[in-house]
């Protein structure tokens, strides 16, 4: 394989990897704060993609404009899924820790419900959004860079930076960090922990609202697309270090480049096997992930 093909693969891997990182941000945030593995994470991304698609198909809205709707919509969905479906788990025994398995089963239920509702409503057909940006590229050193992917990549960096800044400097961000560190101490300091959880879950989903809309110009949509994104997000989060925002981006980049380069040598399906190999190798070397604190 020549150098040109390889650099092209690396660049594409970085772009899609950044997007993987952006998609995984919410999963990492939610786990970092609530210790809940949201199995329905990918389903919420799928929901955002359908939302963006519908606005394009019915109103002719450009997917980038539909962000104005998908982000608040996903925030509200996340806020209420936590408030209505997940919070009873925390209220059941106020003082005791929620076991990860029960939260995982519960969100797996949410995944089944969301995916099947969408399947019922839209059928299994593959849908795609045709907008000009899909085919636009800019050239850097003679290599074409797809504009839609580049925008997704940049959005991931910006969102990660903004989220870190907000968590560090806002009142709500401080309450979220305090709750993540010590739930009981946060309650005893007067923090409304359930509200913090609602906002955290809402935020984690709102980020998916953004990436759903950024993905549709170059990603076709099916009701089961969520699962593969969900699994990738899980890999990314564990690779980068659970709860770490820069770790999420780093893990995404690593996975993206690895997948992209590996698929130059083998078929895309076997490349996925190699991704799991990478995953296991890194966890053997650094059990807490790349940026994680043990």
């Amino acid at each position: 394989m020549d150098l040109l093909t390889l650099s092209f693969a690396v660049i594409n891997g970085l772009l899609i990897g950044g997007i993987y990182g952006g998609v995984a941000l919410g999963l990492s945030l939610i786990f970092g704060v609530m210790r809940v593995i949201n199995f329905a994470h990918g389903s919420f991304l799928m929901l955002a993609m359908y939302c963006s698609y519908l606005l394009w198909a019915s109103l002719g809205l450009h997917p980038y404009v539909s962000i104005l709707a998908t982000v608040p919509f996903l925030f509200i969905v996340g806020y209420f899924v936590q408030g209505v479906v997940i919070s009873p788990l925390f209220k059941r025994e106020r003082a005791l820790v929620v076991e990860p398995t029960s939260a995982l089963l519960l969100t797996a239920g949410v995944y089944l419900v969301v995916d099947n509702i969408v399947l019922m409503a839209f059928g299994p057909d593959v849908r795609s959004v045709a907008v000009d940006i899909t085919y636009e590229s800019i050239f850097v050193a003679g290599l074409p860079i797809n504009l839609a992917r580049l925008i997704g990549f940049l959005a991931a960096i910006v969102v990660a930076a903004a989220l870190s800044f907000w968590l560090k400097h806002s009142e709500m961000g401080r309450a979220i960090r305090a709750t993540a560190q010590n739930r009981d101490a946060a309650s005893l300091s007067g923090i409304n922990v359930q509200r913090v959880y609602n906002v955290t879950f809402g935020l984690g989903c709102a980020v998916l609202g953004l990436f759903g809309a950024l993905l549709v110009p170059f990603f076709s949509i099916t009701p089961n697309i969520g699962l593969s994104f969900g699994i990738k997000s899980f890999l990314v989060v564990v690779l980068g270090g659970i709860g770490s925002i820069p770790g999420s981006i780093l893990g995404g980049l690593l996975l993206g480049v690895f997948e992209s380069v590996a698929s130059q040598f083998v078929t895309a399906t076997s490349a996925a096997i190699f991704s799991f190999g990478l995953f296991i190798a890194i966890l053997l070397l650094r059990p807490a992930g790349l940026m994680g604190r043990a």
Partner: protein
């Protein structure tokens, strides 16, 4: 008699179906220091956790200045004015001292007065002003305890509960802490303090209760308790 600052009647509580507390009665007159004494595992922390809303009580009643705080969620209890500094400090170790203190001021009332209260906490514990930008994990045990008490004060409590504030502190730090607590009392609030330093706390307290196996077995003024034979034998080793 005036309305008690805190009034607990026939409180039953525990973990799951198990009762740890079996019919607790407790009255705190306004602007007093009340000591709660008891061996390890007697249920002292369980009582505070229940009053704070972290544990759901099985039965009973708890009133703060005549208003029920029974079964409220923890942040509401804090808003009403019952605030505890929990056993083992429970600081947010990844945050600066200043941030730990600021977290304490959540409710509207406390938020509005936040800068003033912070200033008062710094006056009470000057070392915290110097170190405010440092991570809470860099402090000694005694200083961490100051942060924990300061954080509770930031919520503007009407009743402040301190769960073993002197745990793990050097004797000199314990003395200083007790001086600070006496100063806090001048702030027009009521203090419920759980302590293993029985002699020291009863000298300071206006009133005391003894909790044994989830039941209050003894109560009286500090002087009365210090003169009690059973208490002297069990807790002072005299």
């Amino acid at each position: 008699m005036s309305t008690p600052a805190l009034e607990v009647r026939d409180l039953w509580s525990g973990y799951g179906d198990q009762d740890v507390l079996r019919g607790i009665d407790l009255v705190l007159e306004p602007r007093t220091i009340v000591a709660l004494i008891g061996a390890n595992g007697a249920g002292k922390s369980t009582l505070l956790r229940t009053l704070s809303g972290l544990l759901r009580p099985h039965r009973g009643e708890a009133k703060l200045y005549g208003e029920s705080i029974f079964c409220l969620p923890p942040h509401k209890v804090v808003e009403r004015g019952f605030v505890q500094s929990p056993e083992g400090k429970q600081l947010f170790l990844g945050m600066s001292i200043r941030e730990n203190l600021l977290v304490g001021a959540q409710n509207k009332r406390a938020r509005a007065r936040r800068d003033q209260t912070l200033e008062e906490v710094f006056e009470l514990f000057p070392i915290l002003r110097e170190r405010q930008a440092l991570n809470a994990s860099t402090l000694s045990g005694g200083q961490q305890q100051m942060v924990a008490v300061g954080r509770a004060l930031m919520a503007l409590p009407r009743v402040l509960a301190l769960d073993e504030p002197s745990l793990g502190l050097a004797p000199i730090m314990v003395d200083r802490l007790f001086e600070s607590i006496a100063k806090i009392k001048e702030r027009d609030l009521t203090i419920l303090i759980i302590e293993q330093n029985v002699f020291q706390v009863l000298e300071m307290a206006d009133y005391g209760y003894v909790l044994e196996n989830g039941v209050m077995t003894l109560n009286g003024t500090g002087a009365e308790l210090l003169a009690d034979d059973h208490l002297r034998a069990s807790y002072l080793g005299l």
